[in-house]
Every structure is written in structure tokens, then in C-alpha cells.
Symmetry: C2
Subunit: 128 residues, 2 copies
DNA sequence: AATAAGTTCAACCGAAAGGTTGAATAAAAC
DNA sequence: GTTTTATTCAACCTTTCGGTTGAACTTATT
């Protein structure tokens, strides 16, 4: 069952990263981060058709980044405040990986420095 | 001049988000977060042609997420540890925006509660 | 010098993305 | 009850994407 969970997490990451890769969609997210808004309001500043913006909103909605609640004929959009956690977590994990590696390299360098060139016969000494 | 800077930042965000939207490319980044590697090594685990992986690497390189240094006929790839900062910053900014808004809403609610409806008897109490 | 290994370049292909326009639907306002 | 307003649906078009294959290029190996 973890298989499925992992698979869907990957798909979610795909969707969220892809959703945020478009500048129009990021602008929509910025807009919605400040207050919720209707489709027409969101579309207003953009130099493209309302339909195009509507499609962008659908992409954001499908990725889970924005949510919609309808009130009569108006659709109110708002951002899903938890939706960026997974992306954030992924980035943080990567940073963790490479920082661990860089730390290890630093330790090696420090070790080499502490005990400089042991002359002709090199004795290797890996810490830990 | 800030115009151009902002424009290029937007383009960089586009490129990095788009680069990370593909699961193969994220896997490559994960691989490189642990150690640098050559193109062939990176390609090995993937069920696609070497050329396809080479193209993915180019996309990552163009986005600034990975870097390449050639040694003879081999190309060594490594991740650019600063490259995710902008994406991270953008996400953090969004979070900041909506948290500010949510805090404001909370304050309003608290205010309403402190001075409850002059009507008969409903007194709600939101836990802090 | 000939061959093998590591990698990219170039052309191609099908599918998806991002946009358009023109209905269609549903609720509000007149 | 007809007309606006808010929004989506559907079809289409062009560009980009992710993959393929085959050739070219550069550096090692023999």
C-alpha cells in the first residue's frame, strides 16, 4: 500500500511543480495568497481571454494548490494553505542530502589538514 | 534596471519549477544530491535511452539546478546548491502572505468575540 | 592507427500545453 | 420571461515536451 502512496505523492509533486512553472499561474497564486477572489476578478489583470485564465485556474485546482467554492453563479477561489508543504518538504530533503555530503567532505578536508602530507608512504585514514 | 532583474527572476522560477516537474529529473536531482556522477552513471537506472537522460540533464543544467564540468571525455554533473533558494523563497513569501491574512482574520474574529453581538445570548469563545 | 567509450547533435514523432473562438449552462437582474 | 452576468465546455491551432533512432565528435584504450 505504500507503493500507491509513494506513487501518488510523486504525481502530486509533478502536478504542483508543473502548476507553479507558469508565470500566469504563479501570479494567480500570489493574488489568492492575499485574498480569495472570483474567476472574473482574477482574470481581469491578465492580457488574455477569460477562458485562458479559467483553464489556468483549473490546472491549479487539479494540483491541489487552489480550492473552489461556488456561491450561486460565482466561483470563489482560495489557496489551499497546506498544498505547498510537499514541495517544500522535497526541497528541504534535497538540501539535507547535499548538506550532509558537504559536511562529510569538510570533515575529510579538516582531517587532511590536521595531519598534513605524511611523506612518501601515504597512509589513508578515513574518519569513522 | 530592476525591470530586467525581475523579468529574469521570473524566467528562472519558470525554468526551475518546470525542471522539477518531471519525475525523471527529480530523480536525477536526488541522485546528484548524494554525489556527483557522470552522464552514463546517471542514466543507468532509467528505463529510457541514454539520449533521453542526456536531454533531461540539459534541461536541469539550463535551469541552473545542476552544473557540469568536463574531464576528458566524461562529463561530471553536480547539483548547484544555491539553485533552489529562489523557489524556496517564493514559496516562503506565499506562505507569509496568507499567514498574515489568516492572522488578520483571527484578530477580527477575536475582536468580534470580545464585544459580542448586543443581542440576547450567544457567546462564542474561540480558543487562542 | 584502429577501435571502443562517453557524450552530444539532428531529425523526427506523438502527446500535452497554452492559447484562441464560439457555443452552452446556470443564476441574477430587469 | 427575456436579458445579463459568471462561468465552463468543446473544438481547434501552434508550440513545446519527452521520447526515439542514427550519425557525429572527442578522448581513451589497444
Amino acid at each position: 500500500m505504500i507503493e500507491k502512496k509513494v506513487a501518488s505523492r510523486t504525481a502530486r509533486l509533478d502536478a504542483v511543480f508543473a502548476a507553479l512553472a507558469d508565470p500566469t499561474r504563479r501570479a494567480i497564486v500570489e493574488r489568492l495568497s492575499r485574498s480569495e477572489a472570483r474567476v472574473t476578478e482574477i482574470a481581469e489583470p491578465f492580457p488574455m481571454s477569460l477562458n485562458a485564465v479559467s483553464k489556468h485556474i483549473r490546472v491549479l485546482e487539479a494540483s491541489g494548490v487552489v480550492e473552489r467554492h461556488k456561491k450561486g453563479r460565482e466561483h470563489f477561489l482560495s489557496i489551499n494553505t497546506g498544498s505547498l508543504d510537499e514541495v517544500d518538504g522535497w526541497i528541504e530533503r534535497m538540501r539535507h542530502y547535499w548538506e550532509a555530503r558537504l559536511d562529510a567532505m569538510e570533515r575529510v578536508l579538516a582531517e587532511l589538514n590536521k595531519d598534513p602530507k605524511p611523506g612518501p608512504k601515504d597512509r589513508k585514514h578515513v574518519s569513522r
